[in-house]
Symmetry: C2
């Protein structure tokens, strides 16, 4: 070998923040103002944590669980657990008991760190989590009580440990982090990230053409740290030495906005429902927050309506970067920027936003294709649609101890999305394959209808789902949340749809609802919406 | 394995340009205006080239040489030769006969592509290059004559070939490109880049905090494509689908400036002597060029004087990005940006330029240390200096078929540089270890003196080298090139030095010269300067 065979281990990236920016801040909201510590302190505490875990018998490849909000101790686990060669299982704090029991036992965590306010979710389960040997409690007050067997306070656990820990060397394909898919169908499935995959993903996120993340940013991961490892943002920010700001459990729009303003956040990431809420809060109090420092927001998890992308530019002069990925893709795979190509510089704003409304361009290093039912590749003409498959060094090749071969084909991940690819190589996701509406042998895109309805003045949110139909198999029904002051009618919505869609594509019913059911990661939960509709548990529309 | 084991092969990155930006332009100067082709065409021709090479018996691991200026055919070789799994040896066109014979025979190229105007450099050697089976000539006119045995025109060679070629899969540690160090001491040494190393390097170059390269850039590699593969710029630009502009053999400052203005170049890379020349041309004709599109210039190869960094910002509003690396580091290893950290945003311009004058911050993924003679690590206090060692996945671990174990230590590359590292983790290279001046047991940094002298009004260039001294072992001598209109005296320079340096650090002599000897890659050739001084071949100063 002529080039050095240095393995791609995450500790070389994560150590860099404390080297180049030792005084830069890690900030999180607490019940009493913010908690603030430096990268140097974070790195020191991550090493103390590693020593404590080592003493508790955790070695390379062993699993350590987190059941935490987004805050500095969670970040210390991100650094310490992975750098020592153990595996961080970031457990979704919003799961129900059955799923929690399943994923904790399946993941095999021997130690779990849990936030004091989340204790009630785990305590009833503890007896069934037979693999967990130690419970560590993260508390703001240091005063807590728990029925968890011999639980120890986090500060006690790491407090007396040395801050020296030499990160070990091992194979770059060693596991690093375990995340379970939110599992809207079937049991949650585990994706085991490796050092190699997350290393490459961190490099990809630091590119100008993806997120443009920089050491000069103040980065706020609103997306939960249990959700595809907060899209990798804490890793990338730590590699660069960027300031990091975490909302902890204080997730109302006004709490988020206060934090972002006070900490001069320049780049923040969250799901569309978060940004819809932020928009609502700002529209209600336009003068309250000075967001002049904010430069870019990342929107992923599900597609933001184009009207939301536009609002962020028009109202805040902020670029909403539409990111697509899944837990299985680490997750960043596709990005849509306002000016993604040199030729786009000359486009007018409307044309730029038309591109932004597409799912985006593939991140360098990955491959994608759309295929028909026989796995034959389809044309990139923007019209034909098929199953989306992706491939690359940060894409899952199997699920953790749960192979699910039907989710993979010839080394490619089957995303479960129906998509088109246009001549400019833009991916355009039409629908999740389970959400697409099959009417009379034709497919109707729920996403296209939702985007169109959301663009109507007075609409806050919209979801379009299939309902069984005796003649057409399925027909679309739209559930719409009105903006506060709006008195819009179903006729308004239907008329608006009629201007853009064929008659057979227009929803059979428009139902106004107060809110839409969300999944544990904040996406609109269409499975639940379909079930509620089928059970006729929605009140009939008042205006039809 | 839970994540896909996709090998890090360069073809996945290089194919992306033609996918996402098929109509974007590859432009190069010719004797009659510019040649312009698209990424789609480049990619098609790279596949034709691969088929032609295949027909000529070139397979995975075989070496193909280029003896070319920077232009579209060289880029086709960058894509085609590497993607097919062969090895591109980019031969330094400015080497003398002995070095050329050595590196071509040592590198083992079986086919060499040569520019018609460079034929006279190779023809006399051909009989001694027994491993070369085919000569391919790149010509603008298609009319050329050569004594090279059975030479074929490049267009004839690829012309009838199919544009279909499926890039093969192989191990990511397979070799990809061969570059020889410029070899100011001893024989040239070969560095064999691998797919893995150049893949990672391309990702690193696309980061916001290194070069901020983007698909929206128009990138001009002035640095020769034979010099550490033009710093990897063509690979990174092709991955992103950025426009690329090549100067070919038209390298005078005004030719470069015309090309950059006409092709709306936003990012250009070259050695300090190039940028000194560009500055001179602009100062002579301040109104001639509209460089409003130019945003950043990369300066590497040797350190730019701080006064030059400042001039680019003040005169052109362009950020000069100081990059450090060597052929052995692929080459990008250290970068200095005007605002490299969040805290630097609040610094005034003078403080920002003080940081830019340092060598810079280490690129994510690499490690560095300074050590004493016993290889003990030294403090990062900005004062103590020692030998600089670097490590990482795109750093050479040995030379190609020429191990040179004394250049490596415990898996680290010994760079041959003497450096300090300050408390902000800035690398500050004091000198090449062979250029540092050892006077009376103390070291004098030639670089510090040069930077200081260059800041004096009326100085165009300066070099400080050691001359033997009976009492002090060595003493510094400064060679200064005056700016056109300047009538500065040696006294002026000495007085200027006296304001910043101790008496014993000030050069014993100031010699005014018309120009400084350069290496084949455009660096100031201190070895030659020292030899000329020792031979008393410089005219004595006219003013002392």
């Amino acid at each position: 070998m002529t080039m050095q065979q240095t393995p791609l281990l995450l500790h070389t990236l994560l150590s860099r923040g404390a080297h180049v920016a030792p005084h830069e801040a890690i900030v999180n909201a607490t019940a009493n103002g913010v908690h603030r510590q430096t990268y140097a302190t974070t790195s020191r505490r991550a090493r103390q944590l590693a020593n404590a875990l080592n003493d508790a018998g955790i070695g390379i490849g062993d699993r350590v669980g987190s059941f935490l909000w987004n805050h500095h101790r969670h970040l210390e686990m991100y650094q310490g657990v992975t750098s020592m060669g153990a595996v961080l299982h970031t457990i979704n704090i919003r799961l129900g008991e059955d799923d929690l029991e399943y994923i904790i036992n399946h993941g095999g965590a021997e130690i779990i760190v849990v936030d004091e306010d989340l204790l009630p979710s785990l305590e009833p389960l503890a007896a069934r989590l037979t693999g967990v040997r130690h419970w560590i409690v993260s508390s703001e007050s240091g005063e807590w009580q728990s029925s968890l067997p011999s639980a120890v306070d986090y500060e006690t656990f790491i407090g007396t440990q040395s801050a020296e820990f030499e990160w070990p060397e091992f194979d770059e394909n060693a596991p690093l982090g375990l995340c379970y898919t939110s599992g809207t169908t079937g049991r949650p499935k585990g994706v085991m990230y490796t050092h190699r995959s997350t290393y490459l993903h961190s490099f990809a996120e630091a590119m100008t053409d993806t997120m443009s993340m920089s050491a000069t940013d103040s980065v706020c991961a609103i997306v939960p740290m249990f959700h595809a490892m907060a899209w990798g943002l804490p890793f990338t920010a730590m590699m660069l030495g960027a300031k990091q700001v975490f909302p902890n459990r204080f997730m109302t729009p006004s709490e988020l906005l206060d934090l972002m303003v006070n900490e001069e956040v320049t780049l923040a990431g969250g799901v569309p429902t978060i940004w819809q809420g932020v928009r609502g809060a700002i529209e209600a109090q336009p003068e309250r927050w000075d967001l002049s420092k904010l430069d870019r927001v990342l929107c992923g998890g599900s597609a933001p309506p184009p009207s939301l992308l536009r609002w962020f530019r028009d109202a805040l002069d902020v670029e909403m970067i539409h990111c697509w990925g899944m837990t299985e893709t680490n997750p960043l795979a596709v990005v849509s920027r306002q000016v993604a190509k040199r030729a786009h510089r000359k486009l007018d704003l409307n044309a730029q936003f038309k591109n932004m409304g597409k799912t985006g361009l593939l991140v360098p290093g990955l491959e994608m294709k759309i295929v028909d039912d026989d796995f034959e590749p389809l044309a990139h003409d923007g019209d034909v649609f098929g199953d989306l498959l992706v491939k690359g060094p940060w894409i899952a090749g199997s699920y953790y101890q749960d192979p699910q071969p039907e989710k993979f084909h010839d080394g490619w991940l089957m995303t479960g999305d129906i998509a088109r690819i246009d001549a400019e190589e833009y991916l355009i996701i039409t629908d999740r394959s389970k959400d697409v509406i099959k009417s009379g042998g034709e497919w109707i895109s729920s996403v296209d209808l939702e985007n169109h309805i959301c663009a109507l003045e007075g609409v806050a949110q919209a979801a379009v789902v299939a309902q069984p139909h005796p003649k057409w198999d399925e027909r679309p029904v739209a559930l719409v949340v009105r903006a506060d002051a709006s008195s819009m009618t179903a006729e308004d919505v239907l008329q608006h749809c009629g201007a853009a869609f064929a008659k057979w594509q227009i929803p059979d019913e428009i139902l106004f609802v107060d809110q839409l059911a969300l999944t544990t990661t904040g996406k609109i939960d269409k499975k639940t919406l379909r079930a509620r509709l089928a059970a006729q548990s929605y009140v009939l529309p008042d205006l039809r």
